[in-house]
C-alpha cells in the first residue's frame, strides 16, 4: 500500500517547482511513467481481491446471487457485518465471531508477554553478559527456527498435557512463546550487540546487577526494537490458525478458528456476505496495529542508532 502511495507523491514533488527546475521536469516524467504503470499493476494485484471482499460484504444475498462480483452494492447494507459479529454460527454455537475476538485478545496478551519476556531477557544475557557456551546455544536456537512446526506439534501436545495447560489460554501462550523464541532472541541479541561495550562496562562498575541494569539501562534503550517485535508478534499471533486449532479447547479458540468454522458451517446456501464480513473483522486488528505503529516499524528496522 505504501509503495503506491509514495510513487505519485514523488512525481508531484518533482514537478512541483517548475520555475526552479524547468529542465529536470521533463526527464523525471519520462522515466517515472514506466514505474508508475508497474506500481499500478502491482497495486491492482493486491487491491482487486480486497475490493471484491469489501463490496461482497456490503451486498445483500439477492445481489450476490446475480453473480457479478465486481459490481458495487445496490445499497449500503451492513446487516451482514452485524450478523457476522453477533449471530453467525460456528458449529452449533451461534454467537458470531465476537466470541473469537475476545478469545484472541485473551490469547494475545499472555502470548505477547510470555514470548517477548522470554526472548528479550535471553537476548540481553547472550549479547551483554558472559554466558558460557553462548555461541553454541545461539546456534542450536537458530537451528530450531528451521524445524517445521508440524514435526513438533504432537510432542508439544503431550508436553502441554503433561503441564496441565493443554486446551487453555496458557497452553497456547506457551506454544507461541516457544515457537517465537529463536527468531525473537536473535533479533534482541543482535540489537543489544550494537550497544556500545563501554555503556555496559559503566553499568557493571555502577551496579553490576543483572536485573537492575536490564530494567534501568537496557530496557529503556529498546524502544525501537520493541515496536518491531510487537508488530511481528501481534500479527503472527493474531493470524495464527494452526496453534489455536491444535492447542485451544472449546471456548479458547482464537478468532481465526471461529472464522474458519463460520465459513465451513452453513446450512443451505453459503452466506458469502457474512463470510466476507467475518473475514474482514478478523483481519482488522493487525491492520490497525500496523497503521498505528507502522512508521515506528521502519525506524526500528533501519535505526541501529544508539548514540550517546
Amino acid at each position: 500500500m505504501s509503495s503506491i502511495a509514495e510513487a505519485p507523491l514523488g512525481t508531484v514533488g518533482a514537478t512541483d517547482e517548475p520555475v526552479a527546475f524547468p529542465a529536470k521536469k521533463k526527464r523525471i516524467r519520462g522515466s517515472s511513467i514506466a514505474i508508475l504503470v508497474f506500481l499500478t499493476i502491482c497495486a491492482l494485484f493486491f487491491c482487486v481481491p480486497l475490493y471484491v471482499v469489501v463490496v461482497t460484504s456490503l451486498k445483500s444475498m439477492d445481489q450476490i446471487r446475480q453473480g457479478d462480483i465486481m459490481s458495487l452494492p445496490w445499497s449500503l447494507d451492513f446487516s451482514a457485518w452485524w450478523q457476522a459479529w453477533d449471530k453467525s454460527c460456528s458449529g452449533t454455537l451461534c454467537q458470531g465471531v465476537k466470541v473469537g475476538f475476545l478469545n484472541s485478545i485473551e490469547i494475545l496478551i499472555p502470548s505477547l508477554v510470555l514470548s517477548i519476556g522470554l526472548s528479550i531477557v535471553t537476548g540481553y544475557a547472550l549479547a551483554l553478559w558472559n554466558v558460557k557456551w553462548a555461541n553454541a546455544f545461539l546456534f542450536i536456537l537458530f537451528m530450531c527456527a528451521f524445524v517445521p512446526f508440524q514435526i513438533i506439534m504432537v510432542p508439544l501436545i503431550l508436553i502441554t498435557g503433561f503441564l496441565h495447560v493443554y486446551g487453555t489460554i496458557w497452553g497456547i501462550a506457551i506454544v507461541h512463546a516457544v515457537l517465537a523464541m529463536p527468531i525473537l532472541t536473535l533479533i534482541f541479541r543482535n540489537y543489544y550487540k550494537g550497544i556500545p561495550q563501554e555503556i555496559m562496562s559503566a553499568a557493571m562498575m555502577d551496579s553490576g546487577s543483572f536485573w537492575r541494569i536490564f530494567w534501568e539501562i537496557i530496557l529503556p534503550m529498546s524502544g525501537n526494537i520493541m515496536i518491531v517485535v510487537l508488530i511481528l508478534q501481534i500479527t503472527s499471533i493474531w493470524n495464527d490458525f494452526l496453534i489455536g486449532l491444535t492447542y485451544g479447547g472449546i471456548g479458547t479458540q482464537p478468532m481465526t478458528v471461529i472464522l474458519a468454522n463460520v465459513v465451513i458451517t452453513a446450512l443451505g446456501e453459503a452466506n458469502y456476505n457474512v463470510d466476507m464480513a467475518a473475514a474482514l473483522l478478523t483481519a482488522f486488528p493487525p491492520l490497525i496495529i500496523y497503521f498505528v505503529l507502522g512508521r515506528f516499524f521502519v525506524q526500528g528496522i533501519t535505526a541501529g542508532a544508539i548514540k550517546g
Binding site: E198, I199, A203, M204, M205, D206, S207, I217, G308
Partner: protein, 367 residues
Amino acid sequence: MPRVQFEKIVKSFGRVTVLKNLNLEIEDGEFVVLLGPSGCGKTTLLNLLAGLLDVSSGRIQIGERDVTDLDPKDRGLAMVFQSYALYPTKTVRGNLKFGMAAARLAREEQERRIAWAAKLLQIEALLDRKPAQLSGGQRQRVAIGRALVKQVGVFLFDEPLSNLDAKLRTETRIEIKRLHDETRSTIVYVTHDQVEAMTMATRIAIMDAGVIQQFDTPDAVYEKPANIFVAGFIGAPAMNIFPATVRMASGGASAVLSGVNATVDLSRYAFTTTPRDGDSIQVGLRPEHFGALNAANGGGAAQFRLPVQYTEKTGADATAYFKTDTGLLAVSIPPERIGALRQGEVATLSFPHDKVHAFDSASGMRL
C-alpha cells in the same frame, strides 16, 4: 586514599599473551599515567584493575584488600570512559544517581553529592538534560561527575580526552589536574598522548609490548630514559638515535657515530656500566638540545656539519631536518631563525655534554 598494587600480572587472550608478569605499585594519592603506543596493554591493565577483565594469573590489591576476584562494583573504583558511556535514556541527574542508588545510598546523601559534583564541574544547569542534548565537552564533564559522586579512593580514566578538540582538551586537562589536587584521590590514567602524561602525572608508567619500560616522574623519563624505547617515545620531535662504536682513549671514552660524520665525546658522561673499546652502542641526541657552535660552549660534546633537507614550522615551534648518510637529523630551531635556513645550505651544530644519552645496542638499556 588507598594504594594500588599489581603483583605478577599475566593476561592472555587465547594464545596471545598481552601482559607477562607485570608488577606495579601505585602510591596513595598519586596521579599515575599509563603511557604507550596502541596495543601495548595499557587499557588491558586498566580493565584488569577495574575488574572488567579477569587476570590469567597474579594478584591485584587496592589498599589492604585483595580485589583480584571481586566484581567491578565491589572494588571501590570509579571509571571515566573514552566515549563517555553515559546512559542515553537517563538525564544527567539520573546518570549521576544510578551508581549511588545501586549502592543503596540515602536519598539526601545522593542529592548532596550531586549538588557538590555539579558545582565542582559547573554542570548545575545541565542536570535535567539528556546526554544527546549535551556537547562533547559537557558530556565529558558529566562522565567525570558520574565517577566523582561515588566518592571512591581510586579513579580510573581511559583516554578521556581523545574525543575532544584541542582547546577543550587543554581545558579539561587542567580541570582534571585541579580535581586531583582538590580530592587527593589516587588516579590511574591511560593515554597515548605524551603531553597529557607529562603535564598531569606524578609518575608515568611507559609501556610497550605488555612490559613496563620505565616507571618514574615525568622529569626522569625525559632526562634519564631507562632504555631506547622510552628515549624514542618521549619527546617531540623524537630523539635522534645513532648507532655508534665506543673508542677508549687516554682522555676518556668517545663514540664514533655511523651514518653521520661525527664523534661524540663521552668523557663527561656518567656511565652506570662503563663500556669497553669497540663496544657497539646507541647514542641519543634530543632535537631541542642542539645549539649553534660558539666559543662559549667550547664546541660541546660533538659538532656536526650537515646540509638542510627541509624545515617545518608549527606556530611556536620549528624543526629543521638535516640530511645524514642514512636518514634525517631533527633539530629544534627558534622559529624566528628558521626562515634564514635554505635547503641544501650547510650548517654547523654543536651538542652539549650533559644532554647526551647512551644505550647498549644489544639490550637497549641505558649505559
